[in-house]
């Protein structure tokens, strides 16, 4: 039985194919079209999923869209009408697509896919809940999904048991934590829907000066984590900006204009909203625990990507275990929707062992064989060295130790926003200059952005205060006390971005200014080659931790094909690129004198 789950038209469209309950393939459309957060109909992702499964659309038994288009349409209509006439401008702006495409979803899907079979529409939060619970390792768990806005619901919780998810309660739009967070993202001058991570990265440089103000003026937060926003300060129901004049007056100024310098105030604001978010999430988790009495918790939805809060839930809430869907945004909805049909709709049995999840390391995307890579390299006259399988870990470990920055392209692409060691850029975590260097010379982004460490699973607790796996880089944990470096008197006086210049631990490149790290633990079975690389690095250089950042540059999606990887490599200051068994070194790139093909160079393969 083949089920295709899809999400599109909001952000991050994606497709996922589930066969007999197993996820065969899942990918975001942006990776194929190279348009970040592409929200178009995910035709490329769908084609890839079908290809991976070796089937055509006629072999599909169900197509599932991750939410009910009609409910969403009504919400939009009602919201805009209740804010008329000021809402009319954004209404008109949003209207045409909604009218044209969204309400005719079923016809659209049938037509695009040339598909005659059944099309199913679970609710947005059902899809999210399904994406949180069904792939989790638990037979029984509470779930909590928090995100921007889907239909009327923005936050929901409930219980997953065997093959069912059951939603117990919901918080409705516009009282949304996701949107509150986005409003501040906007206010601190970052892009809504993609700058959230930057704001989170900025937070540790600030002090929570505005936390009380947010809690007292902007929202009414109850003990159980539910809250009402004071809509006098927000603009997202009526306008195209997120905050209004009153909001600006409250926080003493207009939003930071995007390209301008970050000030201490921006950092303070970022830290304040971060702490509020944590507070809300902790209270919610507490409440969910009381209501459900389960010892396991599953999280999904955009806000669940806030790994700082996740780490605190793990440490401070009564739950014993937490599992987080790595494709926590809308993309994950495609996966959830497909699993929802298999389990809840078709009532198939679900058995888990309580330990191993069904996400398969989230390595659910395209893979390129050595033969394919070789063909690409030779066709484009790119010189390479062919490494034997068993030589890869040592060769790359040596290069990393020599302070080289490595593009690492292996196996299947990750599903979800994080690179987990198959489409990654790697560097030496022991270096004190690496963070700034890699940000400015390779990612071309703000130097304050922290990097994440990959650590081999068995050694994680030697370096970080963590007693469990974090395979999807969704938990933040403090670096161990004994590895930290005490700040000198001078250094303590530094504030704002100057703090970046201090060395904070023996793995400074991945230690944030507050001594935290957003770590990925690497498992021997989930990703053998990546594991061997780090183990080799540990063996030779006594450090089981390396820097892992996604293989892309600012503003671009993570690379998908060898061609994407090569272009990204040549357009940055990466030193080496390893694709499959092929090592390409910058210094070996010879000047082309003849045979420069000006027209073919950039044709994708």
């Amino acid at each position: 039985m083949n089920i295709l789950g899809i999400s599109f038209f909001y952000h991050d469209s994606a497709a996922c194919l589930v066969r007999d309950g197993k996820v065969i393939a899942a990918a975001q459309e942006e990776r194929f079209t190279r348009k970040k957060h592409d929200a178009d109909f995910p035709i490329n992702a769908i084609n890839y999923c079908l290809e991976e499964a070796g089937i055509g659309t006629k072999d599909l038994d169900f197509v599932v869209f991750y939410e009910k288009p009609f409910i969403k349409f009504e919400r939009i209509l009602e919201t805009y009408l209740s804010y008329a006439p000021i809402g009319i401008k954004s209404f008109i702006k949003a209207m045409p697509i909604w009218i044209k495409e969204k309400i005719w979803m079923k016809e659209l899907i049938r037509k695009e896919l040339n598909f005659e079979g059944k099309v199913i529409f679970p609710e947005h939060h059902e899809s999210h809940a399904a994406s949180a619970f069904f792939p989790s390792p638990f037979q029984e768990a509470a779930f909590l999904t928090i995100d921007g806005v889907g239909e009327w619901t923005t936050t929901s919780f409930g219980v997953g048991k065997d093959n069912k998810v059951d939603i117990l309660a919901e918080i409705h739009f516009p009282h949304s934590l996701g949107l509150l967070y986005s409003a501040f993202t906007y206010y601190t001058g970052f892009k809504v829907n993609s700058g959230e991570y930057k704001m989170m990265g900025l937070a540790p440089y600030g002090k929570p000066k505005y936390k009380d103000l947010i809690l007292s003026a902007l929202m009414n937060l109850k003990e159980d984590g539910s809250f009402k926003l004071n809509m006098d300060y927000f603009n997202y129901c009526a306008g195209l900006t997120m905050t209004n004049r009153r909001f600006e007056n409250l926080f003493g100024g207009p939003p930071r204009s995007p390209g301008s310098k970050l000030t201490q105030r921006d950092m303070d604001i970022a830290q304040s909203i971060q702490e509020v978010t944590e507070e809300v999430m902790l209270r919610m988790a507490q409440h969910v625990y009381q209501e459900t009495g389960k010892k396991n918790l599953c999280l999904a939805g955009g806000v669940a990507l806030n790994c700082v809060s996740n780490g605190r839930i793990l440490r401070e809430s009564p739950f014993e275990n937490v599992w987080i869907q790595p494709a926590a945004g809308d993309a994950g909805g495609a996966l959830g929707a497909a699993l929802f049909v298999w389990y809840q709709y078709l009532e198939n049995k679900r058995i888990s062992d309580g330990k191993k999840d069904f996400q398969q390391g989230s390595y659910l995307g395209p893979k390129f064989e050595n033969s394919y890579i070789k063909n690409y390299l030779e066709k484009n006259k790119i010189s390479y060295i062919l490494l034997k399988n068993e030589d890869i870990p040592e060769k790359i470990a040596d290069l990393i130790a020599n302070q080289k920055v490595i593009g690492w392209f292996q196996e299947r692409m990750e599903f979800g926003p994080r690179a987990l060691g198959n489409r990654s850029i790697l560097g030496d975590a022991r270096s004190s200059k690496m963070q700034e260097m890699m940000n400015l010379k390779i990612k071309f982004r703000e130097s304050f952005r922290p990097f994440a460490p990959s650590v081999i699973e068995e050694r994680a607790s030697d370096f970080f205060e963590i007693d469990r796996k974090s395979p999807y880089m969704l938990l933040v944990a403090p670096v161990k006390e004994e590895l930290r470096r005490k700040m000198t008197k001078e250094e303590q006086k530094l504030f704002g971005l100057d703090k970046l210049k201090t060395t904070r631990s023996s793995i400074p490149a991945v230690t944030h200014v507050d001594y935290s790290a957003r770590l990925q633990t690497v498992n021997k079975d989930d990703n053998p080659l990546y594991y061997q690389l780090i183990a080799k690095f540990d063996e030779k250089y006594a450090c089981p931790v390396i820097i892992n950042t996604s293989f892309n540059v600012r503003g671009e999606p993570i690379v998908c094909t060898p061609a994407d990887a090569y272009l990204c490599f040549m357009r940055t200051n990466m030193d080496c690129l390893i694709m499959g068994n092929f090592l390409i070194e910058k210094k070996e790139q010879k000047l082309l004198d003849k045979d420069v093909n000006w027209l073919k160079e950039f044709e994708l393969d």
Partner: protein
């Protein structure tokens, strides 16, 4: 010091006599005429005056040089790192397309690079870029940016385009944007730099268009008689989103330039023909009603268009082009 030049010394020649150069103790010496050239802030001072050392009163090169030494163009005001540079370059489709379509692993020469933003941008990707200009103050800004951001493949050199410091046929791509119309002899300038292009290589020339420039010319006259009180007539000078320094730089470059000339499509096609280049592409496109697409293949051959096309295209420039300063760009390919 001088790492970039040392690595590529094979293509350098003495601007005075064309002899081979030698680098010793951070001084550059010609092995033939024994001229010595200094280095300042890591920028080799290889400028050789146009009129063979005889300083004339109305030497355009000198006048323009003085002007740009005072007002380097364009400025780096709004950003300080590569991220910012990329962001800026991506807003204009031309720089983005160039970056996407100029092959890696080749040498690129930019003539009259000013402060070197395009050179630095193209050098972020794996290309060897030579940014040259006669204005040292501009070059220093480019050099500083390069250094701060570790763009090792880019080198800046002081050079007079009438007195090249490179061997003939050294580059598969030569870019010269917004420069020749500030010289006393645009055609011989073009001739001079076209020699540096390899056979089968490309040249990219950006010039003021005679018709596209008319609006600017009128404004300049108005400013002159009104002692600059009517600055608001220029949309860039009105724009609240543009910083003051940037405005001043634009104002000076557009309205206070000591020397400029206007050119036509026909004229440049003539240059190409005379020197042995085939026309490849133009911005705007030379065929009327054809538009330049977002994914335009810059180096793919296009029709030249006839006089009517050119008339229509240039009339269009007259009405629309003044925001960009009435520019047009032509790409030619050196015959094999």
């Amino acid at each position: 010091m001088l790492k970039h030049m040392i690595e590529h010394l094979d293509i350098f020649v003495c601007p005075a006599c064309g002899g081979d150069l030698q680098i010793a103790d951070d001084e550059i010496k010609c092995l033939k005429c024994l001229n010595c050239y200094q280095v300042e802030d890591e920028v080799p001072l290889l400028f050789w005056p146009h009129e063979n050392g005889i300083v004339q009163k109305k030497d355009v090169t000198n006048m323009v040089k003085k002007f740009y030494e005072k007002t380097p163009f364009p400025n780096y005001e709004e950003f300080e790192n590569v991220g910012g540079l990329i962001q800026k370059a991506q807003t204009g489709i031309f720089a983005r397309l160039l970056n996407e379509q100029v092959p890696f692993n080749i040498r690129v020469l930019e003539v009259g690079c000013g402060t070197g933003q395009l050179s630095n941008f193209l050098g972020v990707a794996h290309r060897i870029v030579f940014g040259t200009d006669m204005c040292l103050n501009s070059l220093k800004l480019g050099q500083e940016f390069k250094k701060r951001n570790g763009l090792e493949r880019v080198g800046f050199y002081q050079m007079n385009l009438f007195r090249p410091i490179f061997r003939e046929e050294s580059f598969p791509l030569v870019i010269c944007n917004g420069v020749l119309h500030h010289t006393s002899a645009p055609f011989s300038g073009f001739q001079s730099i076209s020699r540096l292009v390899k056979k089968g290589g490309y040249i990219l020339i950006g010039l003021y268009n005679r018709y596209g420039r008319i609006t600017t010319d009128i404004r300049r006259s108005i400013f002159k008689i009104s002692s600059d009180r009517f600055k608001f007539l220029d949309s860039r000078l009105r724009d609240k989103n543009i910083g003051e320094l940037k405005k001043l730089t634009w104002f000076m470059d557009q309205y206070k330039n000591p020397h400029e000339s206007g050119h036509t499509i026909r004229e440049v096609l003539g240059w190409f023909e005379q020197i042995g280049f085939d026309f490849v592409n133009g911005i705007p496109k030379l065929k009327a009603f054809e538009t330049f697409s977002e994914n335009e293949r810059l180096f793919k051959s296009n029709p030249e268009g006839n006089w009517l096309d050119h008339f229509l295209v240039q009339t269009h420039l007259l009405f629309t082009g003044s925001k960009e300063g009435g520019f047009f760009l032509m790409i030619g390919r050196k015959k094999l």
